[in-house]
Amino acid sequence: MQELITVEDVTKKYGNKTALGNANLKIEQGEFVALVGMSGSGKTTLLRMIAGLEQPTSGQIRQAGQVVDSINTNARVMFQDDRLLPWLSVRENLTFGEHSKKDITEADSLLNLVGLDEYADVYPEKLSGGQKQRVALARALMSHPKLLLLDEPLGALDALTRLNMQDLILQICRKRNFTTLLVTHDINEAVRMANRIIVVKNSMIVRQVENPYQGQDSVDAEAKQTGIVNDILHTIYEKD
């Protein structure tokens, strides 16, 4: 498979504090990779650097061979909070107020995909938390991004909505063959959704785990997933 993202010896410091140290990572086209670790471990910093929202102190990030040294317009971020514009309707949040036929058709088709086509003309205020995140997901999918960056997008949702959203994201990513990077502190979520899990601990990438049971719901697969979860948890909590 073709390599899409290359993180090469990337370090990010804020003053004297190292947020991420000497990170190396490769993500291939079509992969669903999860970054897991405790709060403050540096996983969101890495995602923000891949999105071009922050620049590495040293090292280099490349997407399809191009150095990411400013906002990465080939990637779309879905944030933990929905960040919908309350003054635009749901559809306009996807098109950013553009009224071209092409944009509207694409927005409507994505709203249909996330099951919110009947809410196209309402303001986000009228939606529940889960619905808002579905709109945010649809917005992230506009213009067919090469890379989808999910920064703990389900963290604020209740358990049931969270499971539904996990299924929806996984289904869309498979259907459209998106390359996806998910940041989460929920190991179960990571193991359910990703085919590869990267463990970040104390600002370092300490381990990568292949997950052949991605998105599988059988009793046997779930037991295997639980094994991977326990293994990752052990890595996170074991003393250095």
């Binding site: 929202l53 779309r76 635009l88």
Partner: protein, 258 residues
């Protein structure tokens, strides 16, 4: 179902009438107080006699002339001051360099009560239209500046970051994210500025004018013409309410998402 609908309709009409009950009750009470002699009519004329005086001044053409002159001064002063306040607030809100250059100076000037400038304005600009319009403009400038500046600088930085990460151009980031986010605060500035516009105009026309509602009132004071003085006060109240109505309507149209 029908009964609930008609009940809701009646409730809605009552709610629309409710704000007017106190002013109407006060006017009725005022009329009764004058009629039964609790108040001397030569001191405080009855509302009906004030109204009759208003009709007569309207027919003579004096009232429409003075109202239109006052409106002209108010609106031109508001447009100049409010416009300048908006432009300065916008520039200082979006540019750190402009903020560093202008904000301290504006904050110093803002703290000078603009009505204290009347003697200076009269000495420099005389008692013509320029002086009165300038005073209104100075009064309107600062509320518009403060609210525009504050509105723009307090837009949720997460929304701006989202806009940037989605590759919005600078123009689109401003027109779709920053300006709509700042609009509620800017409109609050419009409301404040409209209030300041009337108070400044009243003072400016009272101190130095040969036309306008303030002039009518000062002139009437010299002849102890209480009916005209009260008429002017009522006109100010109506114009103030009208400004408030316009500001509220603007908010309802532009902030319908709230």
């Amino acid at each position: 179902m029908e009964e609930t609908k008609s009940k809701n309709k009646i409730n809605s009409i009552l709610m629309q009438l409710l704000p007017w009950t106190i002013p109407v009750a006060l006017i009725i009470l005022w009329q009764i107080a004058v009629d039964v002699g609790w108040i001397t009519s030569s001191f405080i004329p009855s509302p009906l006699s004030v109204l009759a005086n208003g009709v007569s001044l309207w027919k003579s053409g004096e009232l429409p002339k003075n109202i239109s002159i006052s409106l002209y001064r108010a609106l031109v002063g508001f447009a100049i001051g409010g416009g300048l306040g908006f432009i300065l607030g916008f520039l200082n809100g979006v540019s750190k360099v402009m903020r560093a250059l202008f904000d301290t100076t504006i904050q110093m000037l803002r703290n000078i009560p603009h009505l204290a400038l009347i003697p200076v304005v009269i000495l420099v600009l005389g008692i013509g239209e320029t002086a009165k319009i300038s005073l209104v403009a100075i009064g309107c400038l600062f509320p518009m500046y403060i609210n525009t500046y504050h509105g723009i600088t307090s837009v949720d930085p997460h929304l701006i970051e989202m806009g940037k990460s989605y590759g919005l151009s600078k123009y689109k980031l401003f027109s779709k994210v920053i300006f709509p986010g700042a609009l509620p605060t800017i409109l609050m500035g419009v409301r404040y500025a409209l209030g300041v516009m009337w108070t400044t105009l009243i003072v400016a026309e009272t101190v130095s004018a040969d036309s306008g509602i303030g002039y009518m009132s000062t002139n009437a004071q010299q002849f102890m013409n209480m009916k005209t003085i009260f008429l002017c006060i009522i006109i100010y109240a109506i114009l103030g309410k009208l400004s408030d109505f316009i500001a509220k309507t603007l908010e309802n149209i532009l902030l319908d998402w709230r």
